[in-house]
Symmetry: C2
């Protein structure tokens, strides 16, 4: 949190916690530059027009209008809005109050906890929106609230009769001394005038670094701060007493900041450049800066991954002609007769008709894939480490090293709930229900070992609800996936019945594609539904703080969206084709539909199709179309709405204050959707990468657009977000780790169970007569005696191939009809299964070990940073010792002058207790 | 680091980094109490005799002798010793200088880095111990060093002509103002006078807590600080300006501190009590306090584990009679003829002679074991979490919350090495060798992605050396294990040849036990060797800082000792009995010895014997005998040595100063051995717990003694260690996590491969005709036609059972002789193997998931602590705001009085820049 924001929040919320806060938003004011590097302000002439970064000079004068108080001197730092009385707009009022208390009901209890707890206010909170809230009551609260803001030292100016009907604005100005006070309390670190040299470790390294920076020079954004500096300014927590030490030359740099961001960041023409992360942080705050830094690192790391992915794919393309199994399948001389793919209407078919699929499968199912999934697991570990180091570096560069994450303050909803509860307790006797949970609580307390606490059991009920609800939602996803499966089975059966031969030959492709598209549409719809459900569920839980609210919301949204996106894929990868049964005793769904089989050559091909359609579709439609389209749509709606009002649009636009224009922008909805999108993409990139090596490439292409898209959105489409400090990306890092862990296991299973990698190896080293792959296809096919078909399942046209069939083949490891135990699983089956399982164990543990080794070998703190931190400590020590000596000298002078009484009255703290060494023991 | 120690180190080391430090030790002075709670001193009358905590009153006067400077006023805070010139003792001198620079060569470069780097001293460092160091040179350095100490404000007194010949003492006194200065620089947190109430969350909880504290009251040590307090003192970083705020009533409590520790901690009679961790921390510092707190938590957590372990064992005992497989084995009516256990000399035997072993195996190989290993995996996760929370609580109670671990300073050896290198570069042209590593370095730099640095390649060479060396050591371990195996095989063969029937019947037991004892002895010897090797290897690597030295040493020691302790066990668990071959084609070592088989009923029984002997033997001999015996022995040796000198012992003892007496104590060698012992024990408790459920019980019993043993050692046997601050147990936590992770995998393999759990399940659900276990034994035995014995391997006495044998049985899943593929592994083999592997996957992932869930559900910071931290922040805020207003008022008064000039001369910083709100913009 920047000091300014902090001030505002504290002021804002010391009252509103128990009451309905007045509807308040912050508008998109361009004054942030002066808040974050506090010292800029000191050099700014108060009337300097350059500080306004409107895009065109003729707009400047106009903008300036809304950026200052009426006196033209005090700048507007923050704007609150509220609904002015309008009897018919009760719904709108409720809406705006709800959406804003999120941003403002923090930092409660900070200023006057005792006073507040002394007068429990039985008034209902924001959730209860019954009609008995009169306008007077609201005004009274607003005034109390504003009074609190003034008490904190802020200066307010009201603008109720603006051009925007029904909306009142309260402009807030934070004076310099308030900013200083807050900065001091926050121990905000600031660069001082003291500089030191950053030395390169060795001459060779230095040369290399110079070379690298020369080569990558065109990749850097055209921003002044990016030139490589050999000196670094020492940072020190802000203190008014030490203002003379602080650096004050920074204001110059940020004069054209907004313009710079617009040109060097939010533009497609600079897509190949690094982002100006420092500038983003200065304008939007650390939290948003970290998001874009993370996005940049992720995108950058995708480059090697997609390169390797493309190579793996090309390897598949090149070696497709040397692949013995697919050669054997395509060999028309080997005329292997296969059992029919469906009951009655399908007939026997020859294996070489699956030639195309087999060759296509090889593109994704070759030994390089195994290498690639190991590579990607290590890549994920590497990416984590790289990000950790980058984060550390940013923390250092942004002077966050000493910053401790604020313990969050209780949310208004939580406070309200607690209040409600205590009221209930007073009025009623406790019911059995309450006692039960109290009892559960006690039991839990005893079960947990001493010292290990258990979460408050009072919200047990809610937790159970939420768990049930989540399970229900996941159930819905499963049901839908099952529905799509049924669709596929039935459509296939129906299409098979068609007499048109071309239709029949296209059956597979049609069904696969339509099913994948249906899946995609369902995923897109459910994604939106699940977002809403997660929000609703989290609100139901009433988490105590905003942070826990956000974390729980994220976690739930993640679970639901993840399940939603990956269930159909997991079905195809691991379940499809496994539960088919065998000729003569197929498994049936609803006693009429046979379960789906995979094409010859494993399910990997279908998995690949499903993956690419889902991933590309999701990215194209959801991320880009929705992200561009919906804000535009919303803006249009607002525009149309405002047209209906009495004012003429053209007239208004000219006279509108800056904050009034910004009021029409979309409010900032948090970084969660942005992160979520990327995490799901990360899932696509890592989870099934064994089956789709091109996923990183698609992700890379998407992200290059995504960065600039997001940048444009933040710069031009949204109200300016409240800047927030953050040291890390929070729960997202853990989620990333979790996905990377799951990815290892999923890839192990994909390689061993979905691909044909293991059966081939087993054949080659255990069963092959000459140690080659020749005969592999024959080995994987079992024999079936067609006389063993169940009644009514034998094909209607048995002689479609031109000869009568006695024995047909099917893909499975089962005993032949002539063995003593016909159709039972064979020894080969168990051997292959054991090999598959062994591979999973080996792969999982080896890759996890390697990831851990990567994690362990790469130090979390970059070496140069740790050297610099160390250097800074020494310099600080020097400064401290110098000051120490200075103090002693001042003291000595004073003692000599005999002005002791006089001075100690003003500054009793400055006088060291021990005057000389020998006397020190007497204290 | 406590402030006092800090002072000393800094002073001590500002010179010694490049030179040989004068031999210096700290003696066991009883003055620590006054250092840590700085304020005690303020209330202490300087001559108060109570502060000396000598054990008996008559000793007080005597002790007092050595505790003060000659003036009797300034206390001795730290003592340095050095070797006084004695031409013949050059070896001893070197020794003592080496062992002490460890403790003192820290905090280099802090005071005068520029000065030091400006004059590169070509003098060789401590490693070069050639004879050209004259006494004069040493004296000169010592004086320079002492001068530096004085410059830092310390006061020194020399005692070269003490009663101890050849040793000079430098007594150091840190005056109050130096302590204050350092405490301020360190931002040492101190309790203030400001108190606040710690409220219980609810009335029910409060009652429960009161009840619990009543019940556990006798378990708490009889120490005043332990009473439950409802108020907490607000902590604030020490600052001389705010001394008036600090609490000053603490001195009273610690008057009898040493006595208390002796009675309430270092005594076997209080073995059932909690440790007085707060006192330990106050006397020994946070690092040692954390070790004992950790040991306490571990021991406490062992109680439930050993209880469950005992229950599991009892379950085995109770159900042994219902176990169908062992009943079938013991059934004398089923006369299954088994194949001979060795070539020629052994003959056929009947299965029911293995009855005893089978019944014993059941004690450890039953379904409860599976449950127990899952339980222990969760227990480990729980233990980690519990410790994390406890650590957090201690951090809070010990006011370490804001403390950041010091970046460690380069070690003298490292500095010396760097210097040597740069000298070499100046004098010689770079050789190819150097260029090669430079090139490697460059390559590595490019391979690593930008931003991901690589460790300095200059020490590559060393790393390779170390890796090779480590591998060699591990190889030695393997060789020894292999040797023991050979011993077992050959002894068994030899004993089998004996004609004495009783000898032959005792063969198995004798061989097993002697082999286990040999293993134990080897482990004990190698343990000591490996400790030395690890130390040597780490010194070879020349790590930069002490911290990294310690971490690398620990890591290497851990790897070597871990391999050493667990290799024989791993051999028995996973390799023994697997590489046997089959009758007619056994595997032979050196073409004459058959590989070992396990007894019927799996290798679990032997594993269990090996485990218990190793664990118990290690604990009894190494931990307790060595820990008590060796210090006593060393003391005796020193005593005898000193007897040889000219002084009469009795005379000396009376007149010896306190620090001279302490000089004869063993120096403190760090916590590494203590932790290491416990970690290896943790390995025994978790790694193979599936095969030995009593391990936690034995560990518990050992630890109860261990705590008091260590306590006695620290209080009475060792020189008082230098107190060090620490927030956590460092690398040990990661090692613990690693062991717990490995434990999951090892247990999965033990259950599935070593025990008969999976084959039984597979039999019951796949092959059993009636779903029961009847027939299991028969199912696991394959058939062998005795006519297929290789030449010369058939038994000499084939009719020893009284009938001629055609078919004998052996334990394996192979086809019978009459199948088309005789003696090949059967389908059952693959099925069982697949089941085993599937179990490993399921077990590993489920248990890991559960551990992660435990990790995730239990919050790292206990709720009450986070509430208190939050409360403290609010209170701090209040204080800050009050002070703010106070300052403004003072300022206003000053302005009115017109004394502005006068006051601003003394305290220019105190005057806020902004006087009124409206003017603030002009700055």
């Amino acid at each position: 949190m920047t000091p300014q924001m902090k001030v505002l929040r504290r002021g804002c919320c010391s009252v509103c916690s128990n009451h309905i806060p007045p509807a308040c938003i912050q508008t998109h004011t361009y004054t942030y530059t002066r808040v974050l590097p506090l010292v800029c302000l000191m050099l700014d002439p108060p009337h300097s027009p350059q500080l306004l970064n409107c895009l065109t000079p003729e707009e400047t004068a106009q903008c300036r209008h809304g950026l200052y108080f009426q006196d033209g001197e005090r700048r507007v730092d923050y704007v609150l809005t509220y609904q002015v009385k309008k009897p018919s707009s009760s719904r709108a009022r409720r809406h705006s109050s709800r959406f804003t208390d999120n941003a403002l009901t923090r930092s409660l209890r900070r200023t006057r906890p005792q006073a507040r707890s002394a007068k429990p206010d039985p008034e209902p909170g924001p959730q209860e929106t019954s009609a008995d809230h009169h306008e007077d009551d609201k005004r009274f609260r607003r005034e109390e609230f504003e009074g609190n803001l003034r008490e904190m030292g802020l200066e307010l100016e009201k603008d109720e009769d603006g051009k925007t009907p029904g909306v009142g604005f309260v402009k807030i100005h934070a004076p310099w001394n308030v900013l200083c006070r807050e900065a001091e309390f926050m121990k905000l670190k600031m660069p001082t005038r003291k500089v030191y040299e950053v030395k390169q470790s060795s001459s060779v390294m230095e040369k290399i670094n110079t070379f690298i920076s020369k080569v990558t020079d065109p990749l850097h954004p055209n921003v002044e701060e990016n030139r490589i500096e050999n000196v670094k300014h020492l940072s020190h927590p802000f203190s008014r007493e030490k203002q003379h030490l602080l650096r004050s030359e920074m204001a110059v740099t940020y004069l054209t900041l907004f313009q710079l961001l617009y040109e060097e960041w939010a533009s497609y023409s600079v897509f190949y450049k690094y982002q100006p992360v420092g500038l983003i942080r200065k304008y939007f705050g650390e939290k948003i800066g970290l998001y874009f830094a993370w996005l940049g690192v992720y995108t950058q790391m995708l480059i090697p991954a997609s390169l390797v992915g493309v190579f793996v794919f090309l390897y598949g393309c090149v070696t497709v002609d040397d692949d013995i199994p697919s050669m054997e399948i395509c060999d028309s001389r080997r005329n292997i007769t296969m059992c029919p793919l469906c009951d009655r209407v399908c007939s026997y078919w020859t294996l070489n008709s699956a030639c195309g699929t087999a060759r296509a499968s090889h593109l994704f199912d070759n030994p390089a894939t195994v290498f690639f999934s190991i590579f990607m697991a290590l890549w994920a570990a590497f990416f984590m480490e790289h990000w950790k180091r980058r984060q550390m570096r940013l923390n250092y560069e942004w002077d966050l090293t000493g910053f401790e994450e604020e313990e969050d303050h209780p949310r208004a909803e939580y406070e309200f709930r607690v209040m409600q509860k205590s009221l209930k307790k007073e009025h009623k006797a406790q019911k059995d229900y309450g006692l039960f949970y109290e009892a559960v609580n006690v039991v839990l307390y005893f079960v947990s070992t001493p010292g290990v606490g258990v979460r408050g059991g009072g919200v047990m009920n809610c937790h159970i609800n939420v768990a049930v609800e989540c399970c229900f939602q996941i159930g819905v996803t499963f049901a839908i996936v099952f529905g799509v499966i049924l669709y596929r089975i039935s459509t296939k059966a129906a299409l098979h019945m068609s007499s048109n031969p071309t239709t029949r030959s296209n059956v597979r492709l049609t069904v696969k594609t339509t099913a994948a598209i249906i899946n995609l549409v369902v995923i897109l719809i459910l994604d939106e539904v699940y977002g809403a459900v997660a929000r609703w569920l989290t609100a139901l839980e009433v988490p105590k703080t905003d942070k826990s609210f956000e974390e729980r919301l994220i976690f739930k949204t993640f679970i639901l969206k993840f399940v939603n996106a990956f269930t159909p894929i997991i079905y195809i990868a691991f379940f499809r084709g496994r539960l088919v049964g065998r000729p003569g005793s197929y498994l049936y769904v609803f006693e009429s539909y046979r379960m789906e089989e995979c094409a010859h050559g494993g399910c990997l091909m279908e998995l690949c199709i499903q993956l690419s359609i889902t991933m590309l579709g999701k990215q194209l439609i959801q991320n880009n179309l929705f992200e561009i389209g919906i804000p535009k749509l919303k803006k249009l709606i607002r525009y149309i709405k405002s047209k209906r009002s009495a004012f003429q649009e053209e007239e208004r636009e000219k006279k509108l204050q800056r904050y009034e224009t910004d009021f029409f922008l979309e409010p900032f909805a948090g970084l969660t959707p942005e992160y979520m999108e990327m995490i799901i993409q990360f899932g696509f990139v890592t989870l099934f990468v064994a089956s789709f090596p091109l996923a990183p490439l698609f992700a890379l292409l998407n992200n290059i657009i995504e960065i600039r898209l997001d940048a444009k959105k933040f710069v031009a489409e949204l109200r300016r977000p409240v800047a927030a400090r953050a040291k890390d990306i929070g729960i997202w890092y853990n989620i990333l780790r979790g996905v990377a862990k799951i990815a290892v296991i999923v890839n192990a299973f994909v390689i061993s169970f979905t691909s044909d990698f293991i059966p081939r190896l087993v054949y080659q080293y255990m069963f092959s007569p000459d140690g080659s792959m020749h005969g592999f296809v024959n080995h994987t096919l079992s024999y079936f005696n067609v006389s063993h078909f169940q009644n009514g399942t034998a094909p209607l046209e048995p002689e479609i191939l031109g000869f009568s069939v006695d024995i047909c083949r099917y893909k499975d490891y089962r005993e032949p009809p002539w063995s003593p135990t016909p159709y039972e699983v064979s020894k080969q089956f168990w051997a292959v299964l054991a090999a598959r399982l062994a591979f999973v164990i080996v792969f999982q543990n080896v890759v996890m070990l390697m990831s851990d080794v990567v994690d362990w070998i790469i130090p979390d703190i970059p070496k140069d940073i740790s050297v610099q931190i160390h250097k800074e400590k020494i310099l600080m020590m020097d400064l401290f010792m110098k000051e120490e000596q200075g103090k002693l000298q001042v003291l000595d002078n004073l003692t000599v002058d005999g002005e002791k009484e006089n001075s100690s009255a003003h500054s009793p703290q400055l006088r060291p207790r021990a005057v000389s060494h020998t006397q020190s023991n007497s204290f």
